[in-house]
Symmetry: C2
Subunit: 426 residues, 2 copies
Amino acid sequence: MIKIGLLGLGTVGSGVYSILEKHKENLKSKVGTELRIEKILVKDIDKKRDIDFDKALLTNNVEDILENPEIDLIVELIGGEEPAYQYIVQALKNGKAVVTANKLLIARYGQEIMGLAAEKGVSVSFEASVAGGIPIIRPLRESFAANKIERIYGILNGTTNYILTKMTEEGQDFQLALKEAQKLGYAESDPSSDISGTDAAYKIAILSSLAYETAIDIKDVHIEGIENIEIEDIELAKELGYLIKLLAISKFTPDGIDIRVHPAFIPEYHPLASVNDVYNAIYLYGDSVGDVMLYGQGAGQMPTASAVVADIIQASKEIYYGSPDINGHIYKNDHKVKDISQVHNSFYLRLQVKDKPGVLARIAEVLGRNQVSLASVIQKHRYAPVVPIVLVTHQVKEENLQKSIAEFKNLDEVIAINNIIRVEEL
Amino acid sequence: MIKIGLLGLGTVGSGVYSILEKHKENLKSKVGTELRIEKILVKDIDKKRDIDFDKALLTNNVEDILENPEIDLIVELIGGEEPAYQYIVQALKNGKAVVTANKLLIARYGQEIMGLAAEKGVSVSFEASVAGGIPIIRPLRESFAANKIERIYGILNGTTNYILTKMTEEGQDFQLALKEAQKLGYAESDPSSDISGTDAAYKIAILSSLAYETAIDIKDVHIEGIENIEIEDIELAKELGYLIKLLAISKFTPDGIDIRVHPAFIPEYHPLASVNDVYNAIYLYGDSVGDVMLYGQGAGQMPTASAVVADIIQASKEIYYGSPDINGHIYKNDHKVKDISQVHNSFYLRLQVKDKPGVLARIAEVLGRNQVSLASVIQKHRYAPVVPIVLVTHQVKEENLQKSIAEFKNLDEVIAINNIIRVEEL
C-alpha cells in the first residue's frame, strides 16, 4: 500500500480525492497495490465541504503529514510560494516523494527541489504545473527524450485565450470579454497574473528548462500582456490573414535561448490558430520527431486533477517497485537567455498620423535609416485630419525597431503609436 | 550498460541507429548507463548502406541475438507477421525486453505477447506502432490513467490524409492524388492497406484495446476505404460546412464498443479538420481530462525512430533499475464490439435520380417508412433527364439506412447511388 498525504483540499484537491475514490479498484490494479489517502492538510477542519469523506482524515497540523513516517508520498496543492516551498523541502528531506501542481515553485526552485530529491533518492513530479490535463512534462522528458528540442510555441493561459477568442469571434472589446470571463469563472477577480502574461511565463520557463536542461530565471523572460489589444488590431490581423494569440515562445538558438511571452500574429491556417476558448496547446519541434502539437484543457478542476493523479500513479509505482525515476531531472547545462533587443522578428505597427503629403515618406525614412524594411503598408483614405496607418515589417532586429519607434515619438506627423505586435510565422 | 539487439536495419532501423549514435552521451545521462547496440540482424551482410558503422555488428543469424545471454533488449523493426512474431516470442521466453513498431503483431497478438512478457517479468513497448512520433501509447497508459476513456477519433493514416488533402485543396481526383503520393514516397506501390482503411484499423484496435483494457479482434472492426470518394462529395461537404477525412472511431457505449474506420464528414471548425497532408492526430475524451488532441507526423523515418528510441530509453531504465513496468498491460476486461448495423449515425447520401415530378416524394416515403428522417436536402435544377440529389439524415440506426438503400435500388426513379458517407459531429 502507498500512503498519501494531501496538502490542500481546494478545487483541485477535491478533484484528486474524487478520482482516487472513484477509480480505486482500477488504480490499485494499475499500480499493483492500493493507494490510500492517509491525511489531508486543511486550514479549517470544520468547514462544510461538497465531498463526502471520513473527517478523521483532516488535520490542520502539517507535521502530522510531513513527520509521519507512514506517509510515502505528499501531494502539494496549496499553490503559491510559502508555505508550499517549506513543506516540499521538509517532505523531501524526510524521504517522501512529491507530486505538485505548483508552477511558481517549479519555475523558481525547480533546480534546487530536483537536486534535493535526487540526493534523497525520491521523485518529484509536476505534470499538472503546465497546461493542466495536457500531457507535456512527461512527454518532454520521456517521449521526446531522443530529440533535441529546437522550438516550443505555447498557448498556455486559458483566461487570455478565452478573452482573445471572444474579441475575435464576437467583436467584444477587451474589458467586456474580461468581465464575461470573470462571470464564467475563467478569470479571477484579480486577473493580473493571467492578463499580464506572467502565468504563461512561468509555464514556458518550466518547459524550456526541461527541454534544454538549463535552469531558466523567470526574470530573463520578456513578458507582455494582452491588455492593449484592441478590436482594430484583431480586425487588421484578419485582413492580413492572421489571428492574435498570447503566445509563449522558446527557441534554442546558437547565441542563446530566445524566450518570451507576448501577443502575436499567427497565420490563420496554422493548427495553433484553431486553439480557442479556454483550451491550451503546445506546439514543438524536435530534430527527430518534427512538429508535434498537444492540445487540451489547460486548467479546471478535473483536467488538472487528472494530471495530478497520473503523477501519483507513476510515483507510487516507483515507490512500490523501489526505483524512483531520479535521472534526467537536473538541469545540467548552462545556456544563456538571449536579450530581447537582439531577437529578430517581423512586426505589425499601427500608428495614427496627420493626413498630409509626405507623411509616409518621413516614416519610411526613419525605418530605412534604422535598417527596418517594410513588407506591407495599409493606408485607408478617411477624409480626416488624422488617419490610421498600418505597417508590417520584414524580419528586423528588435533594437532597430525600438530605435525607430523612439524616433517616431519625435515626429510631428505621428500623432500616436497605437500598437506594436510581433508577427510569428511559426 | 544495456546491450541491445536490433532486428532489421531498414528505414526505421537506420534512423534508430543514427539517433543512438548522435545522442549517445545525452542518452547515457538520461538512462544512467550506456546503451550499446550489440548486434544487428540483416538479410544481407554485404549490402551497401548509407550509414557508417562497424560491420562486425551485423549478423544474418537471428540466434546470435535471441540466444545471446548478454543482450538485454531486442528492438523488432522487421514488420509483418512472420518471422517477427516468432522472434519476439523467443526473445521474451529468454527474458529479454522487447521494443517493437509492429502494429499488426500488437493488434493481433497483443494480449498473448503482453501476457508472456508479464510472466517472464520483462517489458514490451510499442509506442511507434501507432501514429509514429506522436506520443499516444504511453499517454494512454500513464497520463490518462486516471480517466475512463469514452471516445477516440483518429486520423491515423498519412497516405490517405495526404490524398484527401490534395483532393480538398487542389481539386485533384483520387487517382491523380494517389499517383502524386506515390511519387513523393507517401504511398507504396501497392497502396491497398492504406487506401482500404486496414492500416488505420490496426491502429484504432490497439488504442481501443489499451483504452478499454479489452482485446479487440481486428475482424470486428468495420472498415471502409477512401477509394470511392469523388470530388463532388468533397465539394458538397464544403457547401454543408464539412471536410472529408478517413476517420478511425472508437466509442465506449453501454451496449458495446463502437469501433470503425471509414471516410467521414467532420465539421470544418473542429481541430481535427486542420490536420492536413501526412500529419496524423488522435482526439480523445476522458471523463476527467475532457477533450485532448495529440498531433504530429504519423510515419516517416525519424519520427518513428524517435518513438522507438523513447521506448528503448524507458525499457533500459527499467532494466537498469530492475523494475520492469509490467502492470496495467493485460487486457483484463471482455467488452464486446457493437455490430455496425446497430450503430446510430447521421448520413450523407448522393443519388442520381430521374428529373420528373414526385421523385423526392418516393424517396422520402421509403426513408420515412424505415424511420430515417432528413436533416437537409440539396437538389439543384440542371435541366437534364438525370439530376443529382443530396440528402443528409438525422441520427438513424445503420440497419434502417441500409434497408432504405436496398429499396432505392428497386426504385425506377433512382438511377444510381453515388455515395453514402457518415457524418460525425465529433
